[in-house]
Subunit: 217 residues, 2 copies
């Protein structure tokens, strides 16, 4: 059982951009940041429900396939679910509408909402006001031996990294300089120092860097 | 004639570390940042004068060889020459002692010192109080048709990038999170947007990213 993170970031470390709105939740730079990932066959099938076989099938797609593989539960911040934009709407069901791509339980860290939200296809959202460590304990139980993902956003990921709770960190780095947004790396000096690193360049120009703990004690 | 930059940075964009002293001019993180570069056969020969053939000969060495190739003159900031640490020592001849590795004219941007310093092996230092643009004009004349390097440090490079004066930017990215120092990317949103990008991973784990203007108008 490992705690895993995958994020799309720019070469200067920005994981989301400024200018987020309810209509454009990820901000105007989002497409540039995630374009290579969204173009993969796996993303198109899993997130858009596109079964036509369209999409790229190279290195980016291999990482996209691994993204959901072996995950049994997820923890995410309130902003990733959309609670910063829709704090008082009890009908809000997340950015993904009626077909969230998770198909497993998701803990949403928030003090603004409580209870659970169940979808028929295996996805469930559990709104909890928990510390990072306690949230992982709950997620581990729900994952039944599979891995747990810390999904995002970047501030949430940073908190888990800072507390040493992440076993595997994969960043898909778009070779662009965004210069604004939330920087994943702030305050994380040497957070991956004892990890094994593997780097690989995709056909799209995206640089995939993965740090993993050699062993989990 | 192109204006080129090569820098060693950490994955979070830091090009030098804090804690610089006269004894350890690049600070305590310098070895971690440049270890793969310093280990190459080219660096050992060119900078240390090691003619034994020792050193790595893979992807990092290919970039090291290109580092000096085709350069006819260089512009550097006062700090890179050491003038921040030795502002009032007219005998100071730079960090490289009696055998600087350049073998071409180098413009040092400073208002603290004037005049020239010549070495017998082709290196000369010219202390000038010039704008970025004017320094390039002088360097272009000295380069006699060859390329001009903007050598560093990162603040100097950033200034040339911000003014759109760089044609080729190569960063050798060590997969470490330094979290402190001078960040190359600050204030440079989309500085490479119209450039062609090429990425490559070396055996050492260093990620080489190179942006080039397609054509120079």
């Amino acid at each position: 059982m490992r705690v895993r993170v995958d994020l799309n970031i720019s070469l200067d470390g920005f994981a989301t951009s400024e200018g987020s709105t309810p209509e454009s939740p990820m901000g105007p730079d989002w497409e540039r940041l995630t374009g290579a990932y969204v173009a993969t066959r796996t993303f198109r099938r899993r997130v858009f429900g596109d079964e036509s076989g369209a999409g790229t099938v190279g290195v980016d797609d291999a990482y996209a396939a691994r993204y959901f593989e072996g995950i049994g539960a997820e923890v995410m911040g309130a902003g990733m679910f959309g609670l910063h934009h829709f704090p008082d709407d009890p009908e809000w069901r997340g950015w993904w509408g009626d077909a969230p791509p998770f198909h497993y339980p998701v803990i949403v860290l928030t003090h603004r909402r409580t209870g659970d939200l169940d979808f028929s296809d295996g996805t469930s959202f559990h709104f909890r006001d928990l510390s990072a460590r306690d949230a992982l304990d709950v997620a581990r139980d729900l994952a039944k031996g599979a891995d747990v993902r810390v999904g995002g956003g970047p501030s949430t990921v940073r908190q888990f990294l800072r507390e040493g709770l992440v076993d595997s960190l994969h960043v898909a780095i778009a070779p662009i300089i965004l210069g604004r947004g939330v920087n994943l790396w702030s305050g994380l000096r040497d957070v991956t120092r004892d990890f094994t690193v593997h780097s690989e360049v995709a056909e799209s120009g995206t640089v995939h860097v993965t740090w993993s703990r050699d062993s989990i004690l």
